[in-house]
Symmetry: C2
């Protein structure tokens, strides 16, 4: 059979990136550290899933979480080196999307 063996590293990276929201969270963090509520409202992700994703990304060493004991408490999420290393990849998605994706705009009547 013509079965290609897929590199397990690639497969692991891909399964990480193909979880819903993961890519967008990283993309947002490329512009600097962000708070929970900022991420939540800027991408329309639910708090439940955002919390889950940030935990996963922290476990994988892609995101770090820092607590500033102000009032009210400020918690910032930012990218580690491993996370920052995803920038070229994100740039490629930007490029491809600009070259190939069309945005169908809604006409006023169907809004």
């Amino acid at each position: 059979m013509d079965t290609t063996i897929i590199c397990p590293r690639f497969e692991k990276a891909m399964s990480m990136l193909s979880q819903r929201w993961t890519g967008l969270v990283i993309y947002q963090l490329l512009t600097g550290p962000k708070r929970f509520c900022t991420l939540e409202s800027s991408m329309g992700i639910s708090g439940r899933v955002l919390s889950e994703r940030l935990k996963d990304l922290e476990t994988q060493g892609i995101v770090k979480r820092e607590v500033y004991p102000e009032t009210p408490v400020r918690i910032e999420y930012s990218l580690t080196d491993k996370g920052l290393a995803l920038e070229p990849l994100m740039k490629e998605i930007e490029k491809w999307s600009q070259d190939w994706i069309e945005v169908e705009e809604k006409s006023e009547s169907e809004q």
Copy 2:
């Protein structure tokens, strides 16, 4: 509020790529046209979802489907130009995964 507006093209591309299996299907097709059963068995995706993904990718103009009326019938899936344009992105995922992903190998005892 410090809400970044995300480019709708980028968001569309990302939501496509962050569907389970989509990336791997494209990756497999970068090595040449493939049949349904080959994709199915080489990546461990279920037939139900593979069928769904191939239809979506065809609709989006990323994959094309060609029928060869042999016996038994041969149907080949391959990338369009839009799909082939994803190669640099896939290369970046490969690079990143090689630099940053560790594969934990199972010791014989815990197999």
